[in-house]
Subunit: 340 residues, 4 copies
C-alpha cells in the first residue's frame, strides 16, 4: 500500500517519514514540501542519510496528489493548513490521518474558542478523534482520523478509564506536564534557542493551553459528564518526552488495587501500555524512541488522592508513532508494525 | 568576624565556601573535611582556583574548633551528622547555622517518623527554623538556626502568606516541584550518572518525601491549623534550579489582585523576592546563581484555582545563599552582602 | 539462528540486546548476567519494556552455554573477562564476536603495554580484528572476531584508505575526538555524575589512551609502515556520539578531489558510509541511533593540510551496531538487517 | 567613574552589564538599546531582576552620549556597527573598549579579507588589541582598545609565550576548539535551537573562521615571524565555555619543564592564569562564570609534540570579563575588581 506525507519539515513530520520508510507493510509514495520540493529527503533531513531510497520532496498540489494511487495521506501541517488537503483527498476517496488539531475537537464552538475560525467545518462529521487504546468501536468507518495531541495522550491514557469506571473524582483533578522542547515544533524563536532552554524549567500557557479543549472534551466523553481539570504545562530541557503527573481524589472506597484493576481491564493486551508497579515511576528516558505509555500510581492515605504518573515520547506516541499505530489498526497490519 | 564551614565536599558546601570567600564582612577561619584535611581548597574544589587565598582543609575535631575565635559555624553535613558539632559549638557560646534537616522540625515525633532517631533532641529547644522572609520575630536570640530545605523554600515563600491571610483554601493544595539533579547532592549512584539523567524527567518520592514534614509543619504555623498538601517532587535534567507549581483553590471572594496585594504586603522591601506580573512565569535559568525567589500567579476562572509558580536556585536560595542571608540579618550586615 | 549475549548490563550490551530483539534473522537464545540472573530483561533494562518477549537473564556458566544450540555468542564484557568464555565457546565450535579490547590487538607486546597481562594469548591466532568496511578478505574463516573500539572506528574509516593510497602524509597526523559520556560505559564514579559532566568539555587520557594501540596497529597495516599519530580524546556533554577531526598533511599533488575519489573507491556501495560534500561537516545528532559513519573533508591551501571530520554513534557503529553488521556479513544476512 | 554600555541585548552585553552593576569602582551611566529604549533593564534581561537599580535602556544617539560625563564606553555591538560610536566618543575625548572585531586586526588588508570593508579605517592608528596578559607596554596611551575574541584568548594565552621564547615549532600547529553555543551570540536561527544543538557536536567554519585573522596576526607579533596554524572550531552542547587543545611540535631540546618554566615566567603574578600540573586537564565547567584561563600541557615522547589544553568562559574571559579586566588595568583599579 502506498502512503503519502503532506508537510515533513517539522519534527513530527521527520519522525513520521523515518517510521514509514522502515515500515514493512507500506511504501512511501510521496513526501511533500512547498519549501524543499525537488530536493532529496536526506538533504533536508540529515537523519535520513542512507535511508531515503533516493526519494525527493515533491510539490504540494492537493489535486495532483489526490489523483495518484496513494491510498492514505498523513497530514503533518500546522493547524488551519490541513483543510484543503483533507477536502481534496476525501473527495477522491482517500483515507486521511491528520496530525494537526483541526479535527480533534468535535464541538465547533470549542474549537473556535481555542483556535479561531475552522477552515473545514463541513468535514467534522466525517472525522473522528482516535486515541487507539480509548477509541470507541466504529471509528474505522470514517475517512478522516484525527491523531491526538501529545499532552492529551499522556493525560487521557491513564485518566480516562478511571473516570469511566468511577474510580476517581471528577473534581479537583490537577495535571502537571513537563514537555521536551521539541513539543513546540521547529519554531525559530528566541525562546527556543539552546542557550535559553538548557538549564530552564518553567510553566507556560497556564489556564489556557489549546490542548485543554481536547483533553476536556475527551474526558467528558469517557466520564459521561462535563469534566474540568487544572492543566499546567511546562517546558523542560530535553529533546524528547513528556512526563505527566496527575493528582486526583480517589472515589470513596477505591484503593490502589481498584485503580490497577481498572487499568488492567482497560488495557489488557494493548502492546504499548506498560503498567509499572505502584511506587515505581515512569521516566521519559526509557520511552524515548518508543510508542509506549509507561504509567503507574500511588494512593496517598494522608490526602486521599491518587498520584498518577505517565511518560511518553512526544514525537512518537505523542504524534507520529500514534499515527502509524492508527494506520496499522485501520488497515489490518499488526498493531506494532514499524513501531517499537 | 571569623566564620567556619563544617563539611564542604557537597555541592551546597562548595557553594557556601565560594560565597563566604567573596563576602566583604567575614573571614573564613576554617573549612573542615575528614577526607581532604591538609589539601588546598582549590585542589578539591577546582571552581575555587585562584580564589582560595591559600586555604587548606582542616580536620574535623569539634572541640578544637570550638576553642578557636570563630564566632559562627555553618554545618553543611548530611542529616544526623550535625549533632556533635552543634553540641560542642553551642556549649562554647558559638552561633550555628545548620544546613541539614536536623533542627528544621520542631516536633520530635514528626522528625522521627521521617528521619529516624534524632541525635540531639536536647538541642531542639535552642533551635529555630528560619526562612528569613517568613521568620517570626525573636529568632535572633536562639544560638542554633536551621536553614530551610530547597523544596520547602520554593513552596513556603509563595504559599505561607496566602494561607496566613486566608486568601486560599487549606484543602486540595497540590505542589509539583521540578528539581535540578544537584538537589540530590553529590551522591555517586547509578541513577545520578549523566547518561541516566540527561533526557530524563521523572517523579520520585511521591507521598513521602522528607521535605513534606518541614513544609507541613511550617504551613500549619502560618495558617494556624493542620494543613496537608500533595507534594510531588520530580527530577529534571538541569544542574541547578527548582521550578514549583502550586494549584490551590482561591478563598471565596479572593481574586488575583487579593493574592498580589497579600504578597506585596508580606514581602515589601524584601530584596530577594521578585513578583512577576500575572501571566508571566518564572524560569529557573533566570535565578541561577542568585538568592532570588521569582514568583507569579494566575487565577483560573474555570476551576476557581490559583496556579502559583516559583523558581529558585536550589544551591543558593535553597541552601547556601539562604544561610548567608540568615547570617547577614543575624549579625547586622546588609541583607544582600555577598549575594546577588 | 540462535545467538547469545554474554554480559548485558553496560550501555553497549543493552543496545546490542535491543538490536538483536528486533533483528529478523536471529533469535536471542540467552542473555547472561551474573548480577541479574533470573530477572526479566525489562526489569533491568527499562527501555526494553514490552520488547523483551518474556526473556529473563540467565547465569553465566560458560560450559553450560557452550552446550546449547546457540551458534554465535557476543561477548559484551570488560576487557580481561572474555577469555574463559571465548575459550569454551570456540572449543565447542561456536562462533564469537567480542566487543572488548582483548582480541583487537594482534601484537601481544603492544596489548600488554596498554592493557596488562593477556588472559588468553593462545587464542590470538584464531582471532581477527574486523572493521567491516576495511577488513581484509578471509576473516570469515576465523572463529573469533574482535569488533573495533569506538574511537578507532571514527578515525580508521576516514583515514585508512587515504594512507593506503598515499593521499596523505604519514607524519604530523593529529586526531581530536569528542565523545559522549556513554563512551565511558556505566561507570558509577563521581566524574560521570550529571552535575559534573553537563556544561563540561575536557581532554583526558592524552598521549596514552588505550585505543591508540588499536588505531596505530591498524594504520600500520593499511599504510604499510609504522604510523604514529597524536590522538587527543575528550569528553563532551552528550549521551551518544563521537565527533572526530583529523588534521593531516596532503601528499604532494593530492587535492580534495583525490581524497574524495579515494573514499568513493574504498567505500563504493558500502551502505553505512556517507560522504558529505566538502564544506559540510558531520554532526553527532544526525547519526544518533544509526550504524552510519558520516564524513567529509576540506583542503586548507594555507597549511597544505586536509581537515577530515567524521561522526558516529559510539554505541552503535562504535560498538553494538558494528557487531551486528559483522554478524550480518559473516552469516550471509543483508548487511543492513536490523540496523538503520 | 561613570561608564556606558552601547548595545546590551546579546549574551556578552548582558554579562557585561551584570559585571558592571556589581563593580565597586564604577557607576553604570547608560545602557543603550535601539530596540528596548525606555524599558527597565530587568524586563529585557530577567537575570538582572532586583539588580538593575531602577535603570532603563536609553536610546543610541552617539552625539548625545558623547556629551555626557561618561568617561568610558564599552561597545558590545556586531562587527561593523561600532564605527560611528567610536568616532564620536574619541572625538569627545572619551575612552572606548570595543568588544567587536572591528579594531582587533591592525592590518587593514587582512581585516578586509575576513570581514569585508572597514567602516572606520582612520581610527586604526588610535586602536590597540589588548589581551591583558600579553599586551605590550604603552597600550594605555591609546584611546581605543579592542578586546580579544573568545577563541583567540583560549589559543593565544597558552601559545604566544611559547612561540616568543622558541619553546615550540612555528610549523605544524593544530588548534581544535570546542565552544559553547553562546559563542554564536543570540542568533535566532534554526541551527541554534535547543533541539538541534543538544546531543550535537560538530566542526564548522573549517579553514576560514574569522578569528583566524586575529590569532595569526598576534602569533606573528609574538613569534616574530609569519605563523600559520590549523584552527578547527567546533560547537559543543554547552551554554558557556571553550575547551581548546593545541598540538605543536616541541622545539629541539625543549621538555615539559621548559614549557612550564616559560609559562611561569610569562604569567607570574597574573591573577587569572591558572597552570594545572602536567597530566591534569582543564574543564570548562570549572571556569564557568570566572575570568580565568586554566591550562596545562603534556609532552608526548612518541610524537615529539606538546599537547596543550586550555579552558575559559567564552562570555567572561572570552568577552565581557576581559573587557572589565582591561578597564581595571587602564584606570588603576585592582585587576580583579568585579571579577572572580
Amino acid at each position: 500500500m502506498k502512503v503519502g506525507v503532506i508537510g515533513a519539515s517539522g519534527y513530527s513530520g521527520e519522525t513520521l517519514v523515518k517510521l514509514l520508510l522502515n515500515h514493512s507493510q507500506v511504501t512511501l509514495g510521496a513526501v511533500t514540501s512547498r519549501q524543499h520540493a525537488g530536493k532529496p529527503l536526506a538533504q533536508v533531513i540529515p537523519a535520513l542519510r542512507g535511508l531515503d531510497r533516493g526519494m525527493h520532496f515533491v510539490g504540494s498540489d492537493a489535486a495532483a496528489l489526490a489523483a495518484t494511487d496513494i491510498a492514505l495521506f498523513f497530514l503533518a501541517l500546522p493547524h488551519g493548513a490541513a483543510a484543503d488537503y483533507a477536502r481534496a483527498f476525501i473527495a477522491a476517496g482517500k483515507k486521511v490521518i491528520d496530525l494537526s488539531a483541526d479535527f480533534r475537537i468535535a464541538d465547533l464552538a470549542t474549537y473556535t474558542r481555542y483556535y479561531g475560525e475552522h477552515h473545514a467545518p463541513e468535514l467534522l462529521a466525517q472525522a473522528r478523534f482516535v486515541l487507539p487504546e480509548l477509541a470507541p468501536a466504529g471509528w474505522k468507518e470514517f475517512p478522516l482520523i484525527a491523531a491526538p495531541g501529545c499532552y492529551p495522550t499522556s493525560v487521557l491514557v491513564p485518566l480516562a478509564p478511571l473516570l469511566r469506571d468511577g474510580v476517581v473524582s471528577r473534581e479537583h483533578i490537577v495535571a502537571n506536564s513537563y514537555s521536551a522542547v521539541s513539543g513546540a515544533g521547529r519554531k525559530v524563536e528566541e525562546m527556543y534557542l539552546f542557550v535559553e532552554r538548557a538549564e530552564s524549567t518553567k510553566a507556560y500557557g497556564l489556564t489556557k493551553h489549546r490542548h485543554l479543549a481536547e483533553i476536556e472534551e475527551q474526558l467528558a466523553l469517557h466520564s459521561g459528564a462535563k469534566t474540568v481539570i487544572q492543566f499546567n504545562p511546562h517546558l523542560a530541557p530535553m529533546r524528547r518526552g513528556i512526563a505527566t503527573t496527575i493528582t486526583v481524589p480517589a472515589a470513596t472506597g477505591a484503593g490502589i488495587e481498584t485503580l490497577y484493576a481498572t487499568w488492567r481491564k482497560a488495557y489488557a493486551d494493548r502492546p504499548f501500555i506498560q503498567l509499572l508497579p505502584s511506587g515505581e515511576t515512569p521516566d521519559t528516558a526509557y520511552v524515548a524512541g518508543t510508542n509506549r505509555v509507561d504509567m503507574s500510581a500511588v494512593l496517598d492515605p494522608r490526602t486521599g488522592n491518587f498520584v498518577i504518573t505517565s511518560a511518553i515520547d512526544n514525537l512518537v506516541k505523542g504524534a507520529s508513532g500514534q499515527a502509524v499505530q492508527i494506520m496499522n489498526l485501520w488497515f489490518g497490519f499488526p498493531e506494532t508494525a514499524g513501531l517499537v
